[in-house]
Symmetry: C2
Subunit: 307 residues, 2 copies
């Protein structure tokens, strides 16, 4: 079993109604790796960072079993930087600053040692970069999962559609599903997106949970009702990491197991939002994860007698 993760490793500067993070570690691939490494023993990371990226952050990931030979370090450049401010509802945010830096001309190189890839997780990134990784793999992975966002629908739709045509599972949020499909109903949106390639479509609704569509089947996973959301940054990436991590660990890509994987992803995401950045993800134990998954079981469990 080998899981390859592609995405950004970056700096974030986050303002919420509760406080300001200052410059902390972020990036889709960072969150995915921290989340997935709870389940998948061998993660192979593909990313790019500048000379300003802290060595100890890389070391911590190595200690978790994350292979960083596919992470380019450009000593004389700076890492991708994003700064944003959340509104009071914690569901919407404004981007204050985006500095692409090393991401501006990122040309991923898949190391030979990654060629045994069975599970490929394409974190949100320039579609052409995502596609390049798919093309470099000599053997098609057992499962290719892709996350993306509205920005690429507006600036690189043609490239985006090429990647979408190649993947098994597409992860988008509700607004993005509507934008991509031109359909308001999420049932119809998912059907249209399946026509574009992916056999599975996961629509993330933040605090309202997530939907998994496959053919005529639909599964709904709630988000855990939380007393406090401290920082939602990275929750979607963390969800993706838990999802692919569970699938890679169990080696089972059936629809039924994808349901479980979504619950695992939701559980991990519920930790992520409790503190700034990846902080909470670095602390959680296997016992805490199991307890949290059990809370999801309780949350939706009912036994109804039809008459």
């Amino acid at each position: 079993m080998s899981l390859v993760v592609v995405g950004s490793m970056a700096f974030d500067d986050i303002e919420t109604p509760f406080g300001r993070s200052n410059k902390i570690i972020g990036g889709a691939a960072t969150y995915i790796a921290w989340s997935a490494s709870n389940f998948a023993p061998r993660i192979r990371q593909i990313s790019v960072v500048g000379g300003d990226f802290p060595q100890e952050e890389l070391d911590m990931l190595s200690l978790r079993g994350v292979d960083l030979s596919g992470v380019q370090i450009r000593k004389d450049q700076r890492s991708f930087y994003w700064s944003g401010r959340y509104h009071v509802d914690m569901n919407t945010r404004d981007t204050l600053d985006t500095q692409l830096n090393v991401l501006a001309d990122f040309d991923p190189v898949v190391p030979d040692s990654y060629q045994d890839c069975e599970f490929l997780m394409l974190g949100n990134l320039v579609p052409a970069v995502q596609l390049s990784v798919i093309k470099q793999l000599k053997k098609r992975p057992k499962l290719v999962v892709m996350d993306t966002m509205n920005f690429w629908m507006e600036t690189a739709l043609e490239d985006l559609e090429k990647v979408i045509a190649e993947v098994d599972v597409l992860l988008v949020n509700d607004g993005e599903a509507r934008q991509l499909s031109g359909q308001y109903s999420l049932v119809r949106a998912a059907r249209e997106i399946q026509k574009m390639g992916p056999k599975y479509v996961i629509i993330k609704k933040g605090e309202h949970g997530a939907l998994l569509f496959h053919e005529d089947h639909v599964f709904f996973a709630p988000a855990l009702p939380l007393e406090e959301v401290f920082d939602p940054t990275g929750a979607g990436d963390t969800f993706a990491g838990g999802f692919i991590g569970h699938l890679a660990r169990t080696q089972d890509i059936s629809f039924d197991n994808m349901k479980s994987a979504i619950i695992v992803g939701s559980a991990l995401a519920s930790f992520c939002v409790e503190k700034f950045g990846t902080q909470r993800l670095k602390e959680i134990s296997r016992e805490e994860i199991d307890e949290r998954i059990q809370a999801f079981v309780q949350l939706v469990n009912f036994d109804i007698q039809l008459v």
Copy 2:
């Protein structure tokens, strides 16, 4: 077993992006009775209508087993009238016109034959009217469920708090729960509302499902993802009717059975929105209801193996 339903019986005039209903039958108690009568054989209605309310609508309810001796008919007055227009998202709407008519000075009289009431469903209505019904019952019902809305929080908060203090289950939507409690987090909002009296709080989130809170327990029921929402009017009342109808039929007011009751309510609400007004509710069969409930079981069903 006897279930008493209190609420408006009225005319609605609805505009949606799909069309216009013209003047059709509506009102909280109408929807509740149509929904609950799928489960509870003896429903006792308390309401008021004008001479313009169609006799055949009353006859249809009688044929369903709904006792109308508590429904005042004021021949020389007009029924309550509401007109509204839904936005494209079908989640928000503007009220175009409200004519209280017979509701303006409604003084409910509980018939003696209703005094065996075990389940009391207070549909959305003037809080003082809801309280009057509670006070007229000589023996406290086994379960009192109350629905209300933000309008009363703004215009009759003192009365509203008096009713809330008397009920077992309060039904509100997410915005109303926040407004009533002053808490943004729904977990905290539900906790504050429980302090006001109700041991159970149900927070309705429309297309995002519903949450049931009791002490430290929480249960989440999704809404069925629909291809098309034709008219959301009455969905909340229909939900309430399915909820109380299931509880009245099973005579079981445990937390576990309330979970099932919420699924039943959600299933009924998913029918309601398929056509204008009560039309779809008048057509559905027991088989269709069972199939729909089964769809909810499938929607959230997962089996996760912890490691």
